[in-house]
């Protein structure tokens, strides 16, 4: 069998320690943080250099065994789920920071570097890596590149793609290419830009050159509770319309507040509020002050119950704790949690959120909202019990209705978690056949045989993917 011969060669290259093929050692690799889709690889390899990745890829390609890159496996759309019997190339051992160029504010790193570690390593120079997904203490920069991940502070500073200057990548046939450049100016077609957010389907990234930003001179964190989500959303949309771009502009609803306050992520949010808005302003003190005054005025006008300003960095951290721990806190409410990730135009928030509430009420589902309000990026969370087939069915229905609602007001399927295996089926709701055809041709230009991470993003006949949906919906690890 091709896979057996392939594994034999991979073992010869990497040894037993870095080529896992024993069923017991493969179990934790059958899915990412979206546990809905599972599929068992025939082997997991742990290369430590571009050269090793290249050799692994060449071996797999020669044996025609499909392969899929993986970082930390925190993805929420099934991007790192291997093709049945395929090889999983885990990049977490490639975790060196290769170069920090303080003067030019750039870093060159391997893809297995954990997001938060990069900022920690460059902090002594007064620099930071800006994109901050909530999973940042675990997820890898390689995974971030592949998902074009966002985070609360991406409102002002931009998502991952705005911070990645150049990539070294192993193509599906083993060729090593350099895409993008650390200097300004655009050389040729922007292949770097296409690889960002391509969910590991165009190549395996083995080196990343990224931008670093100076740590802001001044940071101010504000918290404003409201007695209705509608008023909170209108406040958000007025801040945006006023042209203020805070570093972060996040919202949590009543259920999320209750879950957070009952958990270890307790942040001291008022328990009588229907919604809280968390704002962070950063930059020059005079700018922060001017923006704070404008935001205060909008909040007062929209009937904020109070406006709390963090006294010191510890207090700010406390206020953020509830937001960052929201998923974890909600994980305690029920055995399973389904996280949606659609985006709507920001002005539509006041109209869309109550409608999502009605969808879930109508189906008798427990909904909680915590979201990147400043970008219109919703995360409706539905707690449910995956053992209850009828409830699972309702969650699926709610998911579909929420997507349709968001698309109907000019929204899109995903703001940061990607399409992966989860939302392929919805792609036709948003794109025409010709739109999808262009995407397919672009993928084929990189990955003509489709051997790299097959079956993701674009709707495909399921037969060639062989990923078995198990009888569960997305669950987020509460840890």
């Amino acid at each position: 069998m091709a896979a057996q011969a392939c594994i034999k060669e991979l073992k010869r290259l990497l040894g037993d320690e870095r080529c896992l093929a024993e069923p017991g050692r493969l179990l934790s690799y059958e899915c990412d943080a979206l546990t809905h889709f599972k599929s068992m690889p025939s082997a997991v390899v742990l290369p430590e250099s571009t050269d090793e990745v290249q050799q692994v890829v060449r071996i797999c390609a020669r044996h025609e065994v499909p392969f899929t890159p993986r970082g930390a496996g925190t993805g929420l759309s099934g991007g790192a789920v291997p093709a049945e019997g395929g090889v999983l190339i885990e990049c977490s051992r490639m975790r060196r920071v290769l170069e920090v160029d303080v003067e030019n504010r750039i870093a060159r790193v391997e893809p297995g570097v954990i997001n938060a570690h990069l900022s920690q390593q460059v902090a002594e120079h007064g620099l930071a890596y800006a994109p901050d997904p909530s999973s940042q203490t675990v997820c890898t920069l390689g995974g971030n590149v592949a998902e074009n991940s966002g985070g609360p502070h991406c409102l002002k500073h931009g998502a991952t793609t705005n911070h990645i200057l150049a990539l070294r990548m192993v193509m599906p046939d083993g060729e090593v290419v350099e895409l993008g450049t650390p200097v300004a100016g655009a050389a040729g077609l922007d292949l770097r830009g296409v690889v960002l957010g391509s969910e590991g389907t165009l190549g395996i990234v083995t080196e990343i050159t990224c931008r670093l930003v100076p740590v802001p001179e001044c940071i101010e964190t504000l918290l404003a509770p409201f007695d209705s989500m509608g008023a909170a959303c209108t406040a958000v949309s007025r801040i945006v319309a006023a042209g203020i771009i805070p570093a972060a502009l996040e919202a949590l609803d009543e259920r999320t507040i209750a879950a957070v306050e009952a958990s270890v992520y307790r942040a001291g949010y008022p328990d009588d509020a229907a919604a809280v808005i968390l704002v962070e302003l950063d930059g020059h003190p005079a700018r922060v002050e001017a923006e704070r005054e404008q935001i205060h005025a909008i909040f007062r006008d929209m009937g904020a119950l109070s406006i709390e300003t963090a006294r010191d960095p510890e207090h700010a951290e406390q206020l953020w704790k509830g937001r960052k721990g929201a998923f974890g806190a909600m994980g305690r409410l029920a055995p399973d949690l389904y996280v949606q990730d659609a985006v709507v135009p920001r002005s539509k928030l006041p109209e869309v959120l109550p409608e999502i509430g009605r969808i879930c009420d109508g189906l008798g589902l427990k909904l909680a909202n915590v979201f990147h309000a400043g970008e219109g990026n919703l995360h409706p969370n539905i707690s449910y019990d995956g053992r209850d087939a009828a409830e699972v069915e309702k969650v699926v229905q709610a998911g579909q209705q929420i997507i349709e609602l968001c698309l109907s007001v000019g929204g899109v399927l995903s703001g940061e978690h990607g399409i992966g295996l989860e939302k392929q089926g919805f792609m036709k709701l948003m794109f025409s056949d010709d739109d999808l055809e262009s995407m397919a041709r672009v993928r084929a230009a990189f990955n003509p045989t489709g051997i790299l991470n097959p079956g993701k993003i674009l709707p495909t006949p399921r037969a060639c993917v062989e990923v078995k949906p198990v009888h569960r919906l997305p669950g987020v690890d509460a840890s």
Partner: protein, 426 residues
């Protein structure tokens, strides 16, 4: 006009209607094409598709034309082409005021777009040369960046959604009308800067920015541009919130009192912020010969770099290599060209009143000097742009040339779009 051409003319008229086709028989033809030139001016994406199909069947190439501000250099003459003008596709589709998102047809001229939205306090964050003629489609097709790059990001960062017509006449969209989106492959970035070889851009959705309530410019005079750059690096280190920072020499400094080179800092934002930041800059001892506060719109050369694109070279390096770049340029190009170096971005525009100023330059020697700096060189309008030129500077050659060619083959199978625009060096 050859047989093929007159025939194409008729075929296009038959397909798109008589009012959509005209012939330029003398003078400057659009897209620097030789006269007589057939110009087809479709009124919709569907008509663009129709025109592309007719041209493909006739074995004729398509040169998309926006404001036609591109430099008039020779093109691939082997492939007869018609000009496809976006002049009838200049409508505003939607200004989503509360969302700061703007959708328009690709033929809309930038200053007209700005005028349409200024009343709401918004601006399109693009600043190419010749903005009063350049179109949104042309600017995006060339990723034509200007001095606002530091404040707002690159052209690619502004494109939220796009509609293109490929070389096989298919119409496709990518992106959307929201500010955050990872739905499918990010083809907006691919088409931005693709110089019309993957598709004719017919519609764009762009991110808008608020017009800042206050603005201010400070200028310092130095004997040499190298000194201005040095001082600029000090400001860059000490004052992170600058909107723009440029070292300049020559006519670019007209309007600043005193002699020699200059450093100009641009500040924008809330009034109190601009005032406070202005004070910190003013008090900073940079060792300048003189310093002054300028009217916000003084020094136009720095706001919008050049007026004659023919006489223009752009070299990009890492910000800290700006000094070495200036030394190289002085050695290889001489001291009489005008220079504007974006200190924050490492982007240097070299211009001259004589369009032939680069002719005597030893390109090989310049290339050898720039190579260790990993410089990117842009000479807008070069035929066979980029790939051939990159051959000259091997260190800057982007990878994936095979992928680029595969992309061009699959999105423009007959090679009709801007033929010869991207070619790999022999």
């Amino acid at each position: 006009m050859t047989e093929v051409f007159s025939n194409t003319d008729e075929l296009l008229r038959a397909a798109l209607g008589a009012d959509a086709v005209y012939v330029v028989t003398e003078g400057d033809a659009p897209g620097a094409l030789p006269t007589p030139t057939i110009v087809v001016a479709p009124a919709s994406a569907e008509q663009v598709a129709e025109a592309v199909r007719v041209a493909t069947d006739a074995g004729v190439g398509i040169v998309p034309v926006g404001g036609d501000t591109a430099p008039r250099r020779s093109r691939n003459e082997d492939f007869p082409c018609v000009a496809l003008s976006l002049e009838r596709m200049s409508g505003v589709v939607e200004h989503a005021v509360e969302d700061l998102v703007f959708t328009a047809q690709a033929g809309l001229v930038l200053t007209e777009a700005q005028a349409a939205i200024a009343a709401h306090g918004h601006r399109v964050p693009l600043a190419p040369p010749l903005a009063a003629r350049a179109t949104l489609g042309g600017i995006v097709a060339c990723s034509a960046e200007g001095p606002t790059r530091n404040a707002y990001g690159s052209v690619r960062d502004q494109v939220l959604g796009i509609q293109v017509v490929h070389g096989d006449g298919r119409i496709s969209r990518a992106g959307g009308r929201v500010v955050k989106n990872v739905t499918g492959y990010d083809l907006c970035r691919l088409y931005t800067g693709s110089r019309g070889v993957l598709g004719v851009i017919t519609e764009l959705t762009l991110r808008l920015r608020p017009i800042e309530p206050a603005a201010c410019r400070l200028a310092w005079r130095f004997p040499r541009i190298e000194d201005a750059w040095n001082a600029g690096m000090t400001l860059r280190r000490d004052i992170p919130a600058l909107y723009g920072l440029h070292a300049a020499r020559g006519t670019a400094t007209d309007g600043i009192s005193g002699e020699g080179a200059a450093l100009v800092a641009t500040l924008r934002g809330p009034e109190a912020f601009v005032e406070a930041l202005g004070a910190s800059c003013w008090e900073h001892d940079l060792g300048a010969a003189s310093q002054e506060v300028l009217q916000p719109d003084a020094v136009p050369a720095i706001i919008g770099p050049v007026s004659a694109l023919d006489a223009w070279l752009r070299v990009c390096v890492l910000p800290a290599d700006g000094g070495r770049l200036l030394t190289t340029l002085a050695q290889r190009i001489g001291d009489d060209a005008d220079l504007v170096l974006d200190v924050l971005g490492g982007v240097c525009d070299v211009t001259h009143e004589d369009p032939g100023f680069l002719d005597p330059v030893d390109e090989t020697a310049l290339g050898a000097d720039l190579e260790p700096l990993c410089a990117q060189v842009d000479r807008p309008g070069d035929p066979g742009f980029h790939l051939r030129r990159l051959h000259l500077f091997p260190s800057t050659r982007p990878g994936g040339v095979n992928v680029m060619q595969a992309l061009m083959r699959s999105l423009d199978p007959a090679g009709v779009l801007n033929p010869g625009r991207y070619e790999v060096a022999p």
